[in-house]
Symmetry: none
Subunit: 206 residues, 2 copies
């Protein structure tokens, strides 16, 4: 039996197998996964166990199932994940704090990254865009993180953003003007002391 090898629950093993399979065959979003019955047969497990694995991954928004068609890898989106989590997390203050902290630091990291990666002209273009456009903080940072050109940070941030917005933090958010000012400052200073500016930002929010 599958569980006998590892002691893990079967559905967890199946999740792992799927991950390996996806990696091995280099499957991308939109690609089709084997049917439940086929997987059940190939892995020598019950179809119900396969379904448990699929349902878990589906709730995470990692796969998508279409009746009569099959199961497909999905281009990850927060989805219902956030609602579900927020309900369960609500009382965990530490988790909320971690989320806020992590989101904040990633944002600053990306801010720093674009300072490193982009040319002055590109930064200027962004600055002009930011000054002439109306946007929310989320939109602002989405742009930032896109420019930072780090896919991992982008994905992480999207998740964290959804978490963050589903929680009821006090309205202590920074305004876009503060960030713009930060950019200007960073842009003009020879030494990229973003953490100094960071500390300044901290003062604004605290």
């Amino acid at each position: 039996m599958l569980s006998a090898q590892t002691g893990s629950k079967v559905y967890v093993v199946i999740v792992k197998k799927l991950r390996e399979m996806i990696a091995a065959e280099n499957l991308k979003p939109g690609d089709k996964l084997p049917s439940e019955r086929e997987l059940s047969e190939r892995l020598k497990v019950g179809r119900s166990s396969v379904r448990e694995a699929f349902r878990a991954l589906e709730l995470l928004g990692l796969i998508e199932t279409r009746r009569g068609e099959g199961t497909f890898i999905r281009d990850f989106k927060g989805h219902q994940l956030v609602q579900v989590l927020s309900t369960f997390i609500l009382q965990d203050e530490k988790a909320k704090k971690d989320i806020k902290e992590t989101k904040f630091l990633i944002e600053l990291d990306c801010l720093w990254l674009i300072m490193q990666k982009k040319t002055d002209d590109e930064l200027l273009a962004f600055k002009n865009w930011a000054e002439q456009t109306t946007f929310t903080d989320d939109e602002f940072f989405y742009k930032i993180i896109l420019l930072a050109d780090n896919h991992l940070f982008l994905r992480m941030w999207e998740i964290l953003k959804d978490y963050y917005n589903s929680l009821d933090f006090p309205a202590e958010e920074l305004q876009k003007h503060d960030y713009l000012h930060l950019i200007e400052e960073l842009q003009t200073k020879e030494e990229m002391r973003i953490r100094g500016a960071y500390k300044k930002l901290r003062k604004l929010v605290e």
Copy 2:
């Protein structure tokens, strides 16, 4: 039928019901949920559907099941969540550069965090430990990130570390002494200009 009301899949409806139940009865981590069979009966659904809902919530780390005992609400921790997400997200991402960059920035973030969170005594204790102990870079940062007390960063870093080590980057890693020096510097400076030191670190690796 349950799904007829919303058109949603049964297991999603069950997840929703559970959320309502938890909210209504003010259940907290550690509390026991109804058994699979009881839920199956109360909600007029098959036990397998209840299990699909439970498995999904379990993969999210929101509940915990103990054979022979029951299903319990869990004190939420990132756990497998970040792990599973990261794996699926990384699969379509080939950029070794992103992995390296992200890992590096998270490490620096955590370094910065302990500067903020910990007392001088605690930092001194860590510094002494670091000077008197032999450790690898990974062990060093594991300690750092533990001290940073941010569970999300911890999980992310663990994944990134595994990926990083599985890739064949040139041996351009920083040595522990550099980091220790950094800590000393940070500790003594009034202004926490970690990014300045960060830049210095970048020079070391580039």
